[in-house]
Symmetry: C2
Subunit: 413 residues, 2 copies
């Protein structure tokens, strides 16, 4: 079956990619269980295991200066090109927990190594949830045998439940990808409302394929596709302490994808579409989000287009206007001006949903009623033109509405 997952008008399903109902690629098994970390009693410990010794992997992490213990541990003590197990928990981020937090992460890694039958440096540790509360690793260690017993190649949905926090939208896909050398599978499970909060922090994403890739190809593919997906989204402009994205390739399909080949390109296209759709889902799931905006900025300088796009995407004024279905281009102009101090007078171009509203710094007459109707949909596109050519970027962002305030102001620790 196809057509459920790729539902954003900004992400096209490549012709050689087919959606499946679920399940993991060959060589992978996953499961989750409730260990009691989440007060709700929902699954909060998750395990992902690759059975193939020849597996390769790559990882990307948050760049925060306040890294959660599991991120520090995984970054510094793992063979990131040869990961074979992920042990994750939700309900507690194990961040800002000091030395005790590192000890807890080490315990999780050790227990994961036993469960996965691999060396500790092949076990990535991930946590998501409340910041600053000590994590009782023993709870997780005690739960892992049960999780291990439940491991299954159709355990991806259960695994996803074990890593979710405030997620409402299910961020999971299983794909079949037709390459020249044969068919491979590609699947992913992600959590994160594109937001971060001390209660329910973090974007986590785990991607599995049964293609055979060397570690360098894994790293290249993940880096290139993250740069076009998870690095281009913002809910509240807040960088998490825990963000982790991991790609593992089991090689179990027997289909080898060599570097700089047509098949690498095709696998990359599939991965790109997969991660971009997941990224849009993260934004759509931003706490209380009603609409997803996309701002494209073009101009002559890479740093300028990046700064302007981020300023628009993170502006609470732009985000509240998006929430209200208000084609308020003055807020776009203000945000761009803030991002580029000292450049006035800036001959700015702005278009909303393809309708030019500002050209060379002067307002353009347009049908206001028509434009208001256009920004009432679930996806709204903004375009900003700065002087010059050659640089272009985009950022996907959520709106800011009452539900965000309710979720973030009315919870108390």
């Amino acid at each position: 079956m196809t057509g459920r997952f790729f539902d954003s008008r900004w992400v096209e399903r490549p012709g050689h990619v087919e959606e499946l109902d679920g399940g993991l690629p060959q060589g992978f098994r996953a499961a989750a269980a409730a260990a009691g970390i989440k007060p709700s009693g929902k699954p909060d410990v998750a395990l992902l295991v690759c059975d193939r010794a020849e597996a390769t992997s790559a990882a990307r992490f948050t760049r925060s200066g306040v890294l959660a213990a599991p991120v520090l541990l995984t970054q510094e003590r793992c063979r990131l090109g040869g990961l074979r197990t992920v042990v994750a928990n939700s309900g507690n981020a194990n961040a800002a927990t000091g030395k005790r937090g590192l000890d807890a992460a080490v315990k999780m890694q050790g227990a994961g190594a036993v469960a996965g039958g691999v060396a500790p440096d092949q076990v990535a540790v991930c946590s998501t949830g409340v910041i600053g509360v000590p994590l009782d690793a023993d709870t997780i260690v005690r739960a892992l045998p049960e999780v291990h017993a439940r491991l299954s190649d159709t355990g991806d949905a259960e695994f996803l439940q074990g890593i979710q926090t405030t997620d409402v939208v299910e961020k999971r896909a299983s794909l079949r990808v037709r390459l020249g050398a044969g068919m491979v599978r590609l699947s992913a499970q992600a959590k994160g409302a594109g937001m971060i909060s001390p209660h329910f922090a973090t974007l986590l994403c785990f991607v599995e394929t049964d293609a055979a890739l060397d570690a360098a190809a894994c790293d290249l593919l993940l880096g290139a596709t993250c740069a076009r997906s998870f690095e281009r989204i913002s809910v509240d402009g807040q960088l998490s302490t825990n963000d982790t994205v991991i790609l593992m390739a089991s090689g179990a399909s027997g289909v080898r994808v060599e570097g700089e080949t047509e098949d690498e390109l095709r696998l990359g296209e599939a991965l790109d579409a997969l991660l971009r759709q997941l990224a849009v889902l993260c934004v759509r799931d931003g706490e209380g989000a009603r609409r997803v905006g996309k701002v494209i900025v073009r101009g002559g300088h890479h740093m300028h287009v990046e700064a302007a796009a981020r300023a628009v995407a993170d502006s609470p004024l732009v985000k509240t206007a998006l929430n209200g279905g208000d084609p308020n281009w003055g807020r776009i102009a203000q945000a761009v001006g803030m991002a580029l101090p000292g450049t006035a007078p800036l001959p700015l171009d702005i278009a909303i949903e393809g309708v030019p509203v500002l050209s060379g710094g002067s307002p353009v007459d347009h049908d206001v009623v028509d434009l208001a109707a256009k920004v009432g949909g679930t996806e709204v596109a903004y375009e900003v033109g700065l002087p010059g050519d050659g640089a272009e970027t985009e950022v996907f962002f959520s709106d800011l509405g009452h539900d965000y305030v309710t979720l973030n102001a009315e919870y108390t620790t």
Copy 2:
């Protein structure tokens, strides 16, 4: 009378400063009238005139790359050390209005010159209100004779009404300052909810004194005190297209304040307290604000403390926690980490209302109930310690609550 204006625990009234009920220093007159720019029919054209030819002045402006026409005009075509008239309007920011906007600002300046009896390059032009809508300068020109006829040395309250938009808190003070050489007067009128919005943009502040200052001293005093007041506040982190602060000194008291004297210091202390209290009022008046936060960051690098303080002050997660009266220090840690990428593990210290909650990166046991009670007040202080010594900064910021969303999402252009 004293005690009404200086009401923040973070601003002390200097002993040589006395509050007055109102009124402008000698040599100044002001007034306002309703010209019909504001749909509400409230005053929207304001005039401030200094009658003394020897008057001096200084000005500070927004650094936005999208400068409003009046800011461009005033910055580029005025003798900023010899301003004698301000013509201002509210209800329309004359920003992102292109060439037509500049023409309108020029017209305002010309009419202001006639009204003030001075050269056009002695007339500052200020606008605040909706962005991107052409301003009909003729409306203002037609209203100016009436405003001129109303000019009065007790017109400061009326002048303030003419420049206000969404302001709820009155941001105005008249002070008497005892210097060694004699008594001088100091007054100020400010608008701005510390916020910016395309509907009701901008911080404007006009300060008058009858001390005799040379233009260089004016500039020094204004620069030093703005750096400790209006440059240290944030409501929604959004830089306006129109921010303008102007200090004018008439010299009419006959009390001359020379550079690098005790009297300059005393006048500076008075101006500092005045602008800091006004800045706190702007934050308190932030759209829908319930509480004012102050974050102090100390450490070894000026750029690091600045980045961390801004990140905390602008974080929607910190701001919603402040709104909810939630002592959520995890959000402080996350914001600081975001501001200082690549510095992990950061041995961070955090204290809230004097209660240490994180020390050297590890949580500190504290009385949670007691702390929750402490953050329920109208002013909440956060302290962040980064490694090293010698650098320190502070930012005042508002919370983020439902009223902000209501005001910014539910208005439509």
